[in-house]
Symmetry: D2
Subunit: 250 residues, 4 copies
């Protein structure tokens, strides 16, 4: 059953990605990003900063969930929590590399947008309560997402004239995650023993992938507010030198 | 500042309601509900059952939040948790009154849909972490929502030929909540001391009202799956006698 | 079985009290208290302040324990949490009535002694994890303890020339607890359904009663440090006017 | 300040050990252990099983404590949690090596005694709440305790004719802990920045070392009940072959 269930999970995620990439908002996001305005990328990084801060924490909580009594799964959770500790600092580094100043990022970082708040809340909830396999639904698609977005990120970097040191979060994760993806697959096959386990994983994969898409939408919305010069929690982004400004110096 | 802030919060909520009620999906929901097919109402009650189970629990957690050291606010949280304990049984009662059978509701109830899961997760998160005033954003609009939906529920009851004993959750809450609404206003004015407090309340009000709308959308989606006879976690609803069936007997 | 189990629990507690009251340290505590030095009573009140702060919080957590799905027991927990909210302020009031000054009790109160810390930690643990009936073991003996200590407190008040307004914590609780004791008995008979339930209650009753005795011992130890003029976290108590000082003015 | 504070902490622990080792109960424990009756050792291992099950869990929680925002300390917590995962199985292995049968250790293991319950509760509490450095007080003395007990354990093994495979928990830890002790010292010097931090560490060191001594006392008490053939939760230990039985075969 296991391998069939794994293939089924992969298809579920693939068709969700396909669905997302067809959405007008996704195209709009892509074309915004594809433009030369780094503000939309920077807003996105602020959201990465927020959820990445919580990722190792809620990952570690799965090891503490009293329903988790599988030694291997506990070890998986702690190892991955360990590897992901401090990754919010990569997002911070990238923001700073683009020229943004943060003396105390903890207080000065623009806020987590609603879907980012929901992603964080949901991951803590499923880490602490209920079937501890659930959180693997998030890990599974997250670690395999680079297949879907690497080309996109390469284009983005080129268009925005970002160099690698302004994209450390993405490039580091794309390397780490090739290894992680194998680990997640292995542990999924180890811990999912029933149909209900696979369903729980599929459910959380769908919810968290949808929320990630909602984060992209919310980022575009905030970007458009900046363009329209409306009140915003992200005014700091206007201090970013625009790509065209660089170009003007050429 | 306080009264201005309260008025501002009311306007925020009013304009969010207005926005929601304009959405095509809301109209679709209304017209689905306004029809004679009780299944859509029953699906909705299953979601009420799920979140109402958690409402007193996450409400009580606000009293336990170590950042909550205000005696009056602790008392408010515990009193309201107490009053809301067991209200999921009203939703269960209403489902049973329509003829659905549940031997063990805990295992037989159809599942919480994704936005219902997110609402539950979010309420636990804001109850336990961060500014303890936050959860009042949910209480505030929830307790005053009857102004927006009472007429609607009256119409719905008439169209679906539901009698009051099949709508106990709503009618009981509309009575309870008139009193609660005053309490929430009073405690809001007591605990919100800074601009940041009011913003935290506004933020959680917007997020939870949006999620409630997403629950309605998800209910309609599930209902349409039943209509299209697609696979569904809500097949049990097909055992409901339809209003038209009653009519046919007339 | 239930009534037999309840009688058995009462005997367990009675013989634990008897054992405690026979301990040399208990007699020493009694004779210290029976003297005229209010410092030992004031040190004890600081410990009451600490655990009373946490009592409604850990009591409320029992209602939130996912294993607690009994509506009546949830209501019991929330009602009692509600009634006990803010009772640390009675201990604070009594300390102030004796002439101690606290601008910010949260930071200025002498620390919780080790057994007080353990009592607090243990009550949080059994509130959140495992069989939710457990915490009733604490409630049961605590609410019925006034039979064992009222006469003692009366003597103490007389010897130390304390008036009722310096003993509000005790006298208020002795009144409240007559009602509570009946409630606890009733809910115990309602929720304890198995031998394991009664054992869990007996276990937590024994542990918490022992810790309470350890708190008394630790209070006497701290008092003796003051008498011997050793370093102490309770030096503030030396500012208390001694009963003999009053007498000297007569 | 740091190195002075560290030396002070070491002295505090050393004098606590000295005090413990002078207690009549400690000598009694030693002489019980030094005898040939393996039951006392086996009872002790049941308690190790219980607390070792929780050690990585409460250690990991320190990384999740919202007050812990130090990346290095988070990594320390997760690494140590990872290394200690599953160590309860060493205690189980040792019990089985002596001939005890457990089909399902989770349900068949004799219960955690009161001080074991308190140690577990206390470690969860300080992991989740308050100054996150606190838990290092436990790690610090625990990782350096082999200096105090290695000779003792060697004697014990010889007297009870235990071979190394019946003492895996101890011998594995004595090796692991030499490395850990250095790590703990390093992280202590990194995270303790104030007098209050060092005091918090000293406080938890004293409390947990005392509880560990109380566990030894409780083990001896349970052993003596077996000797006196009183009712006991540890009757399973009577199935252990006695050392003298082996000797009789020589």
């Amino acid at each position: 059953m296991s391998n069939t269930s794994l293939r089924h999970l992969e298809q579920l995620i693939a068709s969700k990605w396909e669905h997302i990439l067809e959405q007008p908002q996704a195209l709009q996001f892509a074309s915004s990003l594809m433009g030369k305005d780094r503000r939309v990328y920077a807003i996105y990084l602020t959201q990465v900063y927020h959820y990445a801060f919580h990722t190792p924490r809620n990952q570690a909580l799965v090891a503490v969930n009293p329903q988790n009594t599988d030694i291997h799964y506990m070890q998986f959770c702690l190892e991955h929590a360990l590897e992901e500790t401090g990754h919010e600092l990569m997002a911070l580094h990238d923001l700073r590399s683009m020229g943004l100043k943060f003396n105390d990022p903890h207080t000065e970082m623009p806020p987590a947008l609603p879907p980012t708040q929901l992603l964080i809340a949901y991951l803590y909830r499923i880490a602490q309560q209920g079937n501890p396999v659930q959180r693997l639904g998030y890990s599974f698609w997250a670690e395999t997402s680079y297949g879907y977005i690497r080309e996109f990120m390469d284009d983005l970097g080129r268009n925005m004239q970002l160099d690698k040191k302004q994209m450390t979060f993405f490039y580091n994760h794309s390397v780490i995650d090739d290894k992680h993806a194998k680990d997640v697959e292995k542990i999924l096959l180890h811990v999912c023993k029933t149909e209900a386990d696979w369903e729980a994983v599929g459910n959380s994969a769908m919810i968290t992938l949808e929320l990630t898409f909602q984060i992209l939408r919310a980022v575009v919305d905030e970007y458009e507010k900046l363009v329209r010069e409306e009140p915003s929690d992200f005014l700091i982004m206007n201090s970013l030198e625009r790509v065209q400004d660089f170009a003007a110096h050429d």
